[in-house]
Amino acid sequence: MKQKPKYTQTEDVTLFSEEQGRPMCLHAESIKQFFEKSGDVLVRSVQVGKLEAAVFCVDGLIDSATIGEQIFKPLATDEKLQQAENETQAVKLLLEGAAQFPFVTKETDVNQVITAVLNGLTAILFSEIETAVLIDARGFEKRSIGEPTDENVIKGAKDCFVEVIRVNTATIRRKIKTPNLVIEESVTGKMSLTNIALVYINGTTNRHILKEVRRRLQKMNIDGIMTSGYVEESLSEKPFSVFPQLLYTERPDKFCSHIMEGRVGLLIDGLPIAYILPASVTMFMQAPEDYSNNYIFSSAIRLLRYFCLAISLLLPGFYIAITTFHQEMIPTELAFSIQKAKMNVPFPAFVEILGMLIAFEILMEAGLKLPKTIGQAVSIVGALVVGQAAVEAKIISPAVVIVIAFTGVCGFTMPNQDFSNAVRLWRFLFTLAGSLAGLFGVMIALIFLLLELCDIQNLGAPYLEPLSDSLSSHIKDTLIRPPFRYLNWRPFSVRSVNIRRQK
């Protein structure tokens, strides 16, 4: 049987510290002794003819019925195994098909065996020759593939990534069947030993980008990857920036389209999302649905999204600037309307806006933390009841409520939550700048924002690319979504080896 390498281990990963001690040899008794305090680790002796063996696995990670039927039963009853003269012969027979599993490998390194077992594999230990036969008979409870929760699908595949990396790799394989698709796996996290898969297409993805991603992954020296933040901060070029530098998605179709463009994908066991890199600003403004709908409609929606970005970022600051510094800019009737609404409100516009922005953030946070059913009630009480009461009590003016509501709704049109969060933070800065120096301050804040964005380089690709590009052909799929027949080239920012996408 063709053996498939299952696990590669990065150099930095060590299984056991000196204090913990470790089994020096691949012997059933020493492993049993090492795991004697762990109730879920099973080391069970079995008699294979005249030979002694031990089955070593973790309860809960294996399919017990399958193990009983396809491991224990052959070990006890298979004629050839019963007649095996020695352990070497027994191992050979197991590798040649006595164990009725597709993925059976031989391992002699105790560290590798323990890692494999902790990942859900079953090991049949032969203590005399210090060899283990690893069998993939994993079976544990997992969430089934359902619809994405954060990225709604209207006209597209209704599947999403789940927490199990193997299910996710299979989903990708089903969508990209080219033999050039590479799913390169490694283990990261000193304690969590989390499986990470690097996904790319050989011959399309730039090898320098790949090399850099591998380097950064190897450089990660952490106990474990429990949340996405560990990976994001480790792989970001500029970790102190509030802007996301990795694009995450829970939609396999979006992930695969980016992989086919020549980008590098990252799957992490335990996380129901996948990362795509390098990412640029325009990618955070694109939604998978853009490519499902008519290109004219999609282009209009995309332009609307950019408009909403500007509103979400600038409107509160702009409102303060024009109502406190540049009243002449407001159309006459609107100026009177705002003035009338603000009569008897005791606070300056800046305090009103800042207070409402903070209230909005509080409502958002409360809505997220509470169960969904109560979360809705918070919105109703917060926005409608308290908001209405505040306006009637002349604590805030209705114009400010409209400004903040419009700002908030525009912020919700961002397809990417990380990017939306960054915009939410910068919004405060613009508000402050508008309050300090009017439109002059807003413009200075805008310059700072551009400086910040220009300063980010992601795996060699400028963050503002292709907007910063001087070639119009590179800017095609940014502000608008052109018809597919014009998308002949892969994005320039990925520096793909195979730049032509179609003829």
Partner: protein, 397 residues
């Protein structure tokens, strides 16, 4: 270290930006919108008892429009209350400062859409009033300027406001219709400034007239242009002459032309497009002005029972239409010559076409204009508006 250097560079740039933007004063114009009173309209007059001074009257939005310094001009017909406050001073800025000091809230001129200048003040010359208006950073250059015929601007505002509410609102409604009235074109602050800049340019500014309509009932009317010589008001052009002036300057966008068919029945056409080419030449020591106007009209109304688009009818109508427009333009020429002002904007045309000769003629331009020979050619065509035949039963006896 690099980051630190970058931040220093950014802050230096920021400093530079602030310094070069003229942010020198501590007062950075920060004002909450509810602490401001927007001035809707400004009236400028010569002070009644002290002729060397000027009186500035401001119209503020009613209700919270002001405190106790002025007279409430009432609700009027449209229900919009206004408040008038006024002060006298040696200059506009002095009067305005006095108003500012006495008024409870900060006065802001950013939304003054109209400036009214009283007849007496206009007769003394516009320069003293326009200077403040052109220098003040709050005033919009797009605000319109009007001359008040036969009375003081403050009195006009007061009397009209008492009967009809806010003058600025009523004036806005009227001013929006001037495009349809081919005898008036709004004149903005920036246009008046342009006219003041050019000494040879005759100034013309639309005027307003108060119409008495019974007891306490007044209305306003825009009838034409007030004409200025050397920045001082000299005369008022009537509707026909004003319309002719607009044909000269190519500012006719609409307007009705009354004509008659071969049987004398009334037909009305509406101007849909009018283009005028003015060529001014200086030959044999005299100015020769050739005017070619092309008028495009549509049939607006007919009482005729004839098919107006048959050649014999059509030619008669067009001939009348041409003559009508020609008469208007000649009327404008006459008005201009009589008042010895270039109300036809011929100086600009000549300066553009003959910049070298202009240098010799500009000193005595208006005198030369008196003896100028005018040749006015008008060609026009009319389109049918609808193809209804039944409405007038034309072709049937």
């Amino acid at each position: 270290m690099n980051r630190c250097k970058r931040m220093i560079v950014v802050f230096l740039l920021l400093d530079l930006m602030v310094c070069t933007a003229g942010c020198k004063r501590n007062d950075n114009n920060r004002r909450e919108i509810n602490s401001i009173d927007f001035v809707r309209m400004v009236a400028i007059d010569a002070a009644q008892d002290e002729p060397e001074k000027m009186e500035v009257t401001l119209e503020l939005q009613g209700e919270d429009g002001g405190n106790d310094n002025g007279a409430d001009s009432g609700g009027g017909q449209n229900g919009e209350q206004s408040k008038l406050i006024s002060a006298t001073g040696g200059s506009f800025s002095e009067a305005f400062l006095q108003l500012q000091t006495e008024h409870g809230k900060l006065l802001n001129l950013a939304h003054s859409d109209y400036f009214l200048i009283g007849e007496e003040a206009a007769g003394r010359g516009l320069t003293p009033y326009m200077d403040f208006i052109s220098r003040n950073n709050q005033i919009q250059f797009s605000a319109d300027v009007f001359i008040v015929k036969g009375m003081r601007a403050a009195e006009f505002m007061s009397r009209f406001g008492e009967a009809n509410g806010m003058v600025s609102s009523q004036l806005k409604n009227m001013a929006e219709k001037t495009r349809d009235l081919s005898y008036i074109t709004n004149t903005s602050v920036i246009q008046v400034m342009g006219m003041l800049d050019n000494a040879s340019h005759g100034m013309k500014i639309p005027y307003l007239e108060l119409q008495e309509k019974g007891e306490k009932q007044v209305d306003m009317e825009m009838s034409g242009y007030a004409l200025f010589r050397d920045t001082a008001l000299v005369d008022y052009a009537d509707t026909e002459a004003s319309r002719g002036m607009n044909f000269f300057s190519g500012e006719v966008y609409s307007g009705l032309i009354p004509v008659r068919d071969t049987e004398g029945e009334a037909v009305v056409t509406r101007i849909s497009d009018a283009k005028t080419k003015v060529k001014v030449r200086y030959e044999q020591n005299e100015l020769r002005v050739q005017v070619n106007a092309e008028i495009h009209t549509t049939l607006e109304e007919t009482h005729s029972k004839k098919n107006l688009f048959l050649p014999e009818e059509y030619d008669v109508l067009m001939s009348q239409q041409n003559q009508y427009v020609k008469n208007l333009m000649l009327r404008a020429v006459q008005e201009s010559k009589e008042n010895r002002i270039d109300a036809l904007s011929l100086a600009d045309s000549f300066r553009m076409q003959h910049p070298i000769i202009w240098e010799d003629l500009k000193e005595n331009w208006t005198q030369r204009l008196e003896g100028a020979r005018f040749e006015v050619n008008v060609s026009s065509r009319m389109d049918r508006s609808y193809d209804y035949e039944e409405a007038n039963r034309y072709g049937q006896s």
